[in-house]
């Protein structure tokens, strides 16, 4: 479509080539360290998010293996009890805050602008700022953990255990402030995604022609906007201030309430699960559409189910608190709402099954991961329906049954689709095809390893094994199931190694993917692989839900955007009619400096509240530099 080899009507090959060269100059990133820190193109920032998140996945995975080694046999002494507490806290924290959310944000930062047919996100410098906040937060947590201030009160840091009385040291403070870093990052991406999707779509891409993946990210971004502030209140305002300046949010002796912390945390924490899961649903739709070579069955039903999931997700949080003795009428409401999620998920599963059934399915590695998702996620969903019933939940609360359930829904519901997406879009991001055979091998290792690890945990939980214990005595009879689980964990590790080897070796191969190796329907397959910084020489005009499957004779492209500055087109919210042009800012070092200044203050704030003023002053200087206009300030038409 944007191929200059066949220039649009009325343009010569030479003028199209000149446009391409001018765009390449305008959108080029500066060289050197300064240039690297100042990058504002979404492809570079998206790649950084993804690579950083996978490094944290590796760290979280190593922590998981250490726990499994400790639990492999009764009364093992591989990890001391205190160390075990730190390891499971770091595992959960890393996976939720430093891997799962950022990797979904990174994929969206990379894919969404191309899929809606524009050249960058709406706020490129904010994008750069958000990445550094995320990276600094992750480094802060691990540096503090390795220097002796590891958090050890679990990934949700319940009070009073995490309060000033029972968790001395700086571990919990570090945990709380790491949340602030990563939530700021997630909120930055959410705002960018919302504005990019609502205001910068290709002309003609009305909301009912929005690709399903973009829908899923739009819904996820709205959920981030409404959910993430709650966790900042819980961790930064309630927990950290109680610990550092003596407020009484969670102190029952002065009228505070530990239960209030749970309410606020889970008001974020439950939507969080869907913030990770909803983008994965978008991956599934995109992979299935390309590989079953038909549009997704029941487009409207899938979109409406995802919107409904987004709403219901905010009415479920109390099902994490069934064991706290809340009024029965409240519990009944949250049971019903929790069961309702099965309906919206079920609608989507059936739409995908219908798509596969009526399409011509191609069994790629990515499709293997989709099948893995369906199998594992449905099992996790079934235990979810069981746990939503209060009497059963009271029996299995805080046992390995719950551990099994949430690993089935999170690994099955998010990690398998993510791995599928990685195999699907690897060719687009790197320009090289990933090895399909190794991809399928890694799938089978991960799939078998996953079930061997986590299925026995259901039984262990029903037999009474509680979460977060560092060991157990031999006469309880949990030894063999735990040993099997540990063996499965190593199978997962093997699958992970195959996956990494596959990615690294495929990356060294020749650039051979071409624009559209899968004959897919969405716009990211219309640009070269890897995409140039400007994505499209001539941004597309969209006339159907599956633009690349539209008759080429009917295709239209946008001309008249200037090539000597970073110009994009702003279109209407619902119908995407062209409204005006819009100049995106170029590279700048200030977002990095602002993030660094805020980082200094936030790191200090775990020791004293006054460091917030340092963060404000340094961040303020950074923001003024960021907004200070470069000449010329006037805009020529």
């Amino acid at each position: 479509m944007s191929d200059t080899a066949t220039p649009p009507y009325g343009l010569t090959q030479e003028s199209a080539e000149a446009d391409r060269a001018a765009l390449a100059r305008t959108w080029a990133n500066a060289k050197g360290l300064l240039g690297w820190l100042s990058v504002t193109t979404h492809q570079a920032i998206g790649r950084r998010y993804i690579v950083t998140a996978f490094v944290f996945l590796l760290l979280g995975g190593i922590e998981a293996l250490m726990m499994r080694i400790q639990l492999a046999k009764p009364e093992n002494t591989f990890l001391a009890p205190a160390r075990y507490n730190q390891i499971f806290t770091m595992h959960g924290t890393t996976m939720m805050f430093l891997f799962a959310v950022p990797v979904m944000e990174g994929m969206a930062v990379y894919l969404v602008p191309i899929m809606v047919g524009t050249r960058n996100v709406a706020f490129p410098r904010l994008n750069n700022f958000g990445y550094w906040m995320y990276l600094f937060g992750g480094i802060f947590l691990y540096v503090m953990a390795l220097t002796g201030a590891a958090p050890d009160a679990g990934w949700f840091s319940y009070v009073p255990l995490a309060g000033p009385q029972f968790s001395t040291g700086k571990g919990v403070d570090t945990w709380a402030q790491m949340i602030t870093f990563t939530e700021i990052s997630a909120l930055c991406v959410a705002v960018e995604i919302i504005v990019t999707v609502l205001r910068m779509r290709a002309p003609g891409m009305s909301l009912n022609r929005l690709p399903l993946y973009v829908w899923s990210m739009l819904i996820q971004a709205f959920m981030v906007v409404f959910a993430m502030p709650a966790v900042m209140i819980a961790s930064t305002v309630m927990l950290l201030n109680d610990r550092t300046i003596g407020t009484h949010f969670v102190n029952p002796w002065e009228g505070g309430d530990p239960l209030l912390y749970q309410h606020v945390f889970w008001f974020f924490g439950h939507p969080e699960v869907y913030i990770i899961f909803v983008p994965a649903l978008g991956f599934i739709s995109a992979i299935l559409e390309a590989n079953s070579r038909r549009s997704i069955f029941g487009y409207s039903a899938v979109v409406l189910s995802q919107v409904a999931t987004g709403f219901i997700a905010f009415g479920l949080w109390v099902h994490h608190m069934f064991a706290t003795g809340l009024p029965q009428i409240g519990e009944a409401y949250f049971t019903a709402a929790s069961m309702m999620i099965a309906v919206t998920s079920g609608v989507q599963i059936f739409c995908w099954l219908a798509t596969m059934w009526t399409g011509r399915l191609r069994m790629t590695a990515a499709i293997h991961f989709v099948f893995g998702f369906i199998f594992i996620f449905v099992l996790g969903g079934l235990t979810g329906v069981m746990l939503s019933s209060v009497p059963l939940d009271l029996q299995s609360h805080d046992t390995y049954f719950v551990v099994a359930h949430f690993h089935y829904v999170l690994i099955g519901g998010a990690l398998f689709p993510l791995f599928g997406a990685f195999h699907h879009w690897f060719s687009k991001i790197t320009g090289r095809m990933i090895d399909e055979a190794l991809g399928k091998l890694s799938f089978w290792l991960l799939f078998i390893g996953f079930n061997v690890t986590f299925f026995p945990m259901h039984i262990l939980g029903l037999n009474g094994m509680t979460r977060r214990i560092y060991t157990y005595s031999a006469d309880l009879g949990w030894g063999s199931a735990n040993l099997i689980a540990t063996a499965g964990a190593f199978l997962i590790a093997l699958g992970g190694i195959v996956f990494i080897v596959n990615a690294l070796t495929s990356m060294r191969g020749p650039v051979n993917a071409g624009e559209d190796p899968w004959d897919a329907s969405t716009l990211e397959w219309a640009v070269p692989s890897p995409p140039p910084n400007y994505n499209f020489v001539y941004p597309p005009v969209v006339s159907s839900l599956t633009p690349l499957w539209t008759d080429p004779a009917l295709r239209t492209v946008v001309t008249g955007l200037r090539t000597d500055r970073r110009e994009v087109l702003v279109t209407g919210v619902t119908e995407a009619e062209p409204q005006f042009r819009y100049i995106l800012p170029g590279s700048s070092i200030w977002p990095f400096l602002a993030a660094a200044g805020i980082m200094i203050g936030f790191c200090g704030s775990v020791f004293a509240f006054s460091w917030y003023f340092v963060a404000s002053v340094l961040g303020g200087i950074g923001f003024v530099g960021w907004f200070w206009p470069r000449r010329p300030v006037e805009v020529a038409p």
């Binding site: 009507y9 606020v264 295709r555 100049i583 907004f627």
Partner: protein, 204 residues
Amino acid sequence: MTSARTLDVSDLPPYEISNRAPLWWGQLFMAIIEGCLFCMLLAMYFYARLSVDVWPPPGVPPLKTLMPTLALIPLILSAGGSYIASEGAKKANRRLMLQGLCANIALAAVFLILRFIEWRTFNFSWQSDIHGTFVWSILFLHTFDVIADLLMTAVLIVLLAVGRYGPKQRAGVHVDSVLWYFLVLIWFPLYVAIYWGPHLMRAQ
């Protein structure tokens, strides 16, 4: 392959300063995020209030309402300054923008001074009890946001005064007003809850 047809957009304006600008949308969502923080604090405030019989706790007199009510006058008027500035931004009228922003910052400063004077009459801190914790948290967060917005306004005044501005900075003036309207509007429920709430709920 056939040549694609074209849609020429070179006649469209290169920017627009209105509620359709992407920057306006970004600012809107940033205000929503900030609004979620305040709503959560407010919900928590009532959660804490409803779990005790006496509020504020014994020994702490209910907050006086005169001073914060008087302070509403400059606050509401300051939004008028923002409005004038944003209309000036749309019309590219430098004088209107400067007048509006200066009125905004001066009236907001009066509001803040009244607030700081009032704080000196408080006989409790955030460490006293849960009531003090909430009142100070709400006041701190709102004051922090107000000061941050005023600094942004001051930067815009400097840029306008030295003439170093173009459409992007005018768009900045326009969205600055969005943030200010938000900070004025969100203050009303917070003000009613922390100043009038103890009186109204005691009367029952």
